[in-house]
Symmetry: C3
């Protein structure tokens, strides 16, 4: 089940990357690269930092295949996607929560301390989108108001906390996933935002 | 021969990085850094992802020395470079095809699957230029219309395919190199472009 | 002593990241991420390239804790910081010199050649600030005129040279630190700049 959800997350993130590429009028290659970077960027950064062998997609090309397929599909059916904005937003929330939890799981499995497992989990959920924005020459969306990264933090933190309190892996994963997802969906529905820090040099 | 070509590729990519730095009026340090990032960025990313020891230039400082030398030379003779635009474009095509093939070779040597070897080869050929553009605060050129990354893909894919069909390493390298180079030079000459994906949110 | 100075360096760099986030009106999460990236980005890149185990902060979460604390403090006392600009500039020079020397020390300890130890030391001192600027959608400051990266180069180079000439580690570290710091402070005071390279395509 986790594996299927993981691939769904890759597909959804890939669609968001492909749409960002379309907004900048990139060519087909750019669309695929931006889609893949968005989909696997967070996990790639996590694996580079953990330094525990080649990054995950090197041994499982299926991730790139699914991501590239989703990008091409996006180009093919773009008109229909416009009407699916709500569905995409929910799917994105699913992908983000799942990536954050699974990132924390992977870090914990190789004996990383809880604080860092939370940081790396959150990174797995949001860094792909940040790299997408940098490559599109934009300030990363996750640094601006919306409660997005905070939800990733809640997912990773929920899992680590639940594990620490003695829950089994399945229950802890489920709990982290639900907490982050619920926070993100609530934030979308209620337009919740984090306070902004303003420095103006005069 | 490969080794010499590899250093020529580094020098050419370094020149393109130095010129990009000059367009943004960077200082001498910026010129050298942007030149080196362009020259060794693709291979560095490949090595980080493969996680097979320190990146290549850590053990062979000659790459950085050649790159920095080419950057300083660019500053010294910039007027003359203007008349050499055609030569530089061809040299850049040579470097890109070579880096892509050699990237795929390196990935194959450590037992990476064919699909990923093609991806990493393509990355070796084009990622340096992408990082150059991000550091110059531009959307990477390789994401826009021109057939550039596609040629890198052809080089890496040509090598992997030829190897798979039983050609010896020398012949497979030569074939991949020629295929990508020919595609890139044809694209330059005939102004071939990939189709663009446009999303406009209204 | 080095350890304490190292944490001071993290705190100072973190403040500069938090202020940059405030200038782009990021939210609290963005402030903390940009602060941490600035503070540990250089050392992270160094460790990724050296490929000698997980990056330093994975095993020492204290770095992230100090960095996040400094970021939150920056938000809390921002008005007071305005009057401390001079102090911050000096503290930043301290952090940069120290990170550059310690980066070279770490590279030397695992048997890296002198040229590359200088490159990696310089990178440890300045790359965090470069990533901060890329994430803020700006061309990295270190590529523009001011003598900053050159001072990092002097710190790392001073240490490597002094070690090569037979000085003990303590003396070599002190010398590299002083040389880079003195160059940076002189540059600030005398407004020293590197020459700029200008390419205009007409």
């Amino acid at each position: 089940v986790l594996y299927v959800l993981d691939l769904v997350g890759v597909a959804v993130f890939s669609i968001s990357g492909a749409l960002a590429a379309g907004r900048k009028q990139m060519d087909l290659f750019g669309v695929i690269v931006l889609a893949l970077v968005t989909a696997v960027g967070g996990g790639t950064l996590r694996d580079l930092i953990l330094d525990a062998g080649p990054v995950f997609w090197v041994e499982k090309p299926i991730y790139l295949v699914v991501g590239a397929g989703a990008a091409l599909l996006t180009v093919a059916v773009r008109r229909r996607l416009r009407r699916m904005r709500g569905v995409l937003l929910i799917a994105d929330a699913l992908g983000m929560s799942l990536f954050a939890v699974l990132g924390a799981v992977k870090a914990t499995e190789i004996g990383i301390s809880p604080v860092i497992a939370v940081v790396l989990g959150c990174m797995s959920g949001v860094a792909g989108g940040a790299v997408r924005d940098v490559l599109s020459n934009e300030i990363p969306l996750i640094f601006r108001r919306e409660i997005y990264a905070t939800a990733a933090l809640a997912s990773a933190g929920g899992f680590v906390l639940a594990s620490g309190l003695g829950l089994g892996p399945g229950a802890a994963i489920g709990l982290g996933f639900i907490v982050g997802l619920a926070l993100r969906l609530t934030a979308i529905r209620m337009k919740l935002e984090l306070p902004v820090f303003v420095v103006d040099d005069d």
